[in-house]
């Protein structure tokens, strides 16, 4: 079966140790994590993990089910690329001298939809938001100008479904049932 890049989105209680519990579910199956982002959500006490991994769909569906089993997990979902909006942020550091010598650079930065976020005595920092491919394209463009440092964030993603996280959590809170199949929401 074909291996592809998928995005797993997990809503959890904001509890220590969960990152470890989640990632060992992938690592014991020898599935490598391409990117991982953890942040709080608009709901207090609830965190969102966005995990990008390459594997077959059935393998990741099983991973998602195992993640749902974790007591502090509120919901876990598997997405293909066309089911989500997603972005990454990349930062590129160049020498100020190189930048000043090459007028072309400013045009290139603009063409890639990137922006300069800091100009220091010796260096400038460029920020680009986009897909991994887009940030990589800018990396390749800037490479001949000697990139001093480069960093890319994990993917952040939200689903294209009409789901509202707040409503989802509220439903969990107000329900008195322990048979509620809310994780399928």
């Amino acid at each position: 079966m074909e291996q592809k890049e998928y995005t797993i989105s997990v809503l959890t209680e904001d509890k220590p140790g969960l990152l470890n519990k989640l990632t060992i579910i992938l690592s014991r199956r020898k599935i490598n994590i391409n990117s991982l982002n953890v942040s709080t959500t608009e709901v207090e006490g609830v965190s969102r993990y966005t995990i990008v991994a390459t594997a077959t769909k059935p393998a990741l569906e099983k991973v998602v089910k195992q993640i749902r089993k974790l007591v502090d997990v509120l919901g876990s979902f598997l997405y293909e690329e066309d089911q989500i909006y997603y972005q990454e942020i990349a930062l590129y550091k160049l020498s100020l001298e190189v930048f000043q010598k090459n007028r072309l650079l400013e045009t290139l930065i603009r063409q890639h939809g990137a922006k300069i976020i800091a100009i220091e005595e010796n260096q400038i920092v460029i920020e680009k938001t986009g897909t991994k491919q887009e940030t990589h394209e800018l990396y390749e463009t800037l490479q001949p100008f000697d990139i001093l440092e480069f960093a890319r964030s994990g993917r952040v993603a939200i689903s294209k479904s009409k789901r509202r996280t707040e409503a989802f959590i509220r439903e969990l809170e107000t329900s008195q049932s322990n048979t509620l199949s809310i994780k399928e929401f």
Binding site: T12, E13, G17, N20, K21, I24, R28, K62, K65, Q66, R68, K69, V71, D72, V73, L74, I169, L172, E173, Q176, S177, N178, T179, L180, S181, I182, K183
Partner: protein, 575 residues
């Protein structure tokens, strides 16, 4: 007003306690009566408090933490209650890991409480400090570290709720020494719900309907049940279902004793060393009903050739087990008891006489090629099979049988005729040698009125032999049967069949088990001759106290039938 009354009531219930006292109070609130454990520096405040609670909480001092946790497992599996154990930090806690893993894979409800170094020392590599939370993460259903006494009631309430609800499992609570020592205002409230945890899926109508249609139309339906039946207490419903539909039923290793082996529709035990019929008929049935079992590889063999011709109906509580190993046609995600109750009025009364007869024909083949040779051997020394067969007749299948891991385990599963539920306790998923002796101690404490028989090989016995001390100290009436072939028998069998008889480090020079037992003041005898068996069994069984019987058995006996690892179940070898 109501809020005021509630707050006043809460105040009245509040007591000023140390963390350690609070732990014990929580256990009492959860109706725990027995704790298995081993003290040490980081859990000493709890043991100190226990000194004052001896009339309410019975503590069994094992000889090793591994003994404590296996005993808690045996207790939980025989009694159906949560098993509880205590251990100190560091080595005490890590010694629990094998048992925790065993409990996780065999769905045993446990609450393990470990002491931890004081919170200001966490992460400093202090004496006997270890990150037991990190270590136990992949093998617990839930774990939690307590650093303040105020967290104790909430964490323990959650621990008991999580351990025993839904698919049961082990929970570990790690408590720093300072949290055990500090005082706080204690109140206890049992946990009934956690918003991020829904242990009981709601039965959906559509799969029940589809399953009913398949079952009612099936010409060759076949059913395999697992431990899920025992865990949900669905033995009665399973019997009614099988009798109404006339479907032949087989058991997995952990399902054994959920259904009487003497029932005419019981067709045997399925799996690597199971019976011939249940294995080959898997690939001939048209509808395959799996209840409370997880399609372990020891049951399925090669999954690419397993029941491919059949429509598969899987009744399973844990949604992660559905479609994990075998793709199902109908998934009924729910408790086995509820699902069977819902199906019972929907399914038609039926009998599948001709189909059931096919299983009995398989039984004849197995009897001729494997069973007969095993239970009526021509060899001078006794075989494990004949000993267990005889034991089953002697006890009329009414004992609780605890086994260790290896050939004797498979022989017990094959030749003991279980007549009552919760009568078979073994380490199924993890295959932990050393499990039997302490688990039998726990099982006897959990069900003191039942005859508990520990069937152990000479290898496994020596892994936790020190727990004889517990039998001695607490007068636990366990009957121990050692089947001694001076070999690690199952490994030797594999070496014979798959490694060209290269018996690499599987032969054992054993100590005098009788002297060891007598050293622990346990009555013991050893027999080698067939003609001694009957009398020895009578003597051994007719005592209330614990007693040990060592039977020297044939050295190179093999367990057959056998599905070689990863092979197709239809290609089961009879000899």
């Amino acid at each position: 007003m109501e809020a005021l009354v509630e707050s006043l009531e809460k105040k009245l219930k509040t007591e000023r306690l140390t963390g350690s006292e609070a732990i014990l109070k929580c256990l009492i609130e959860e109706e725990v009566e027995t704790i298995f454990g081993y003290p040490g520096g980081a859990i000493m405040p709890v043991y100190d408090a226990l000194y004052d609670y001896e009339d309410q909480l019975k503590h069994i001092l094992t000889r090793h933490e591994q003994g404590a946790i296996h005993a808690a497992q045996g207790f939980a599996r025989s009694s159906g209650k949560v098993g509880v154990c205590f251990a100190t930090s560091g080595p005490g806690a890590t010694n629990l890991i094998t048992g925790i893993t065993d409990a996780q894979i065999d769905s045993t409800p446990l609450v393990c409480i470990t002491g931890q170094v004081a919170s200001h020392l966490l992460g400093s590599d202090a004496f006997q400090e270890t990150d037991i939370i990190g270590i136990s993460m992949p093998v617990t259903k839930w774990n939690f570290q307590i650093t303040r006494p105020e967290e104790i009631p909430m964490a323990l309430a959650k621990a008991f709720y999580i351990a025993q609800s839904g698919r049961p499992g082990p929970v570990l609570i790690d408590i720093t020494k300072d949290a055990q020592q500090q005082s706080f205002d204690f109140t206890y409230e049992a946990c009934e719900r956690i918003r991020s945890y829904q242990p009981y899926p709601e039965l959906k109508e559509q799969p029940l309907k589809t399953a009913t249609e398949l079952i009612n139309q099936a010409k060759k339906p076949y059913l395999i049940f697992g431990q899920g039946v025992t865990l949900s207490g669905a033995e009665k419903e399973l019997k009614e279902f099988v009798e109404k539909t006339g479907i032949p039923a087989a058991s997995t290793l952990l399902g054994l004793s959920a259904f009487s082996t003497n029932h005419p529709l019981y067709v045997g035990y399925a799996g690597m060393h199971g019976n011939y019929g249940p294995n080959v008929k898997t690939n001939e049935c048209d509808v395959f009903i799996a209840i409370g079992m997880r399609f372990d590889d020891r049951v399925t063999g090669d999954i690419n050739t397993y029941a491919k011709q059949a429509k598969v109906i899987h009744i399973e509580l844990d949604p992660a087990e559905i479609d994990k190993n075998i793709q199902t046609d109908v998934a009924i995600n729910g408790d086995a008891k509820q699902a069977l109750k819902a199906l019972l009025p929907l399914v038609k009364s039926n009998d599948h006489e001709e189909w059931v007869k096919e299983f009995h024909e398989c039984d004849k083949i197995e009897m001729d090629k494997a069973i007969q040779k095993s239970i009526q051997p021509t060899s001078e020394l006794m075989t494990m099979a004949e000993v267990i067969h005889k034991l089953s007749i002697k006890t009329q299948g009414k004992s609780v049988v605890i086994t260790d891991v290896g050939q004797h385990q498979m022989m017990a599963a094959r030749y003991y005729q279980f007549d009552q539920p919760k009568s078979h306790i073994t380490s199924g998923g993890l295959g932990t040698m050393g499990f039997c002796l302490p688990a039998a101690i726990g099982a006897k404490i959990g069900k003191p009125n039942r005859e508990v028989i520990a069937i152990i090989g000479d290898g496994g016995f020596q892994m936790t032999i020190q727990e004889l001390g517990v039998i001695m100290q607490y007068q636990v009436g366990v009957k121990i049967l050692i089947l001694n072939n001076s070999f690690l028998g199952m490994v030797r069998q594999w070496q014979q069949l798959f490694f060209d008889r290269r018996y690499s480090f599987t032969e054992m020079d054993n100590p005098d088990f009788i002297k060891i037992a007598e050293g622990y003041r346990i009555a013991a005898q050893r027999i080698e001759k067939r003609e001694e068996l009957n009398y020895a069994f009578d003597q051994w069984l007719n005592t209330k106290e614990s007693s040990l019987l060592e039977i020297v058995v044939e050295k190179e006996e093999n367990v057959f039938p056998m599905v070689p690892s990863g092979s197709c179940v239809s290609k089961i070898r009879l000899e």
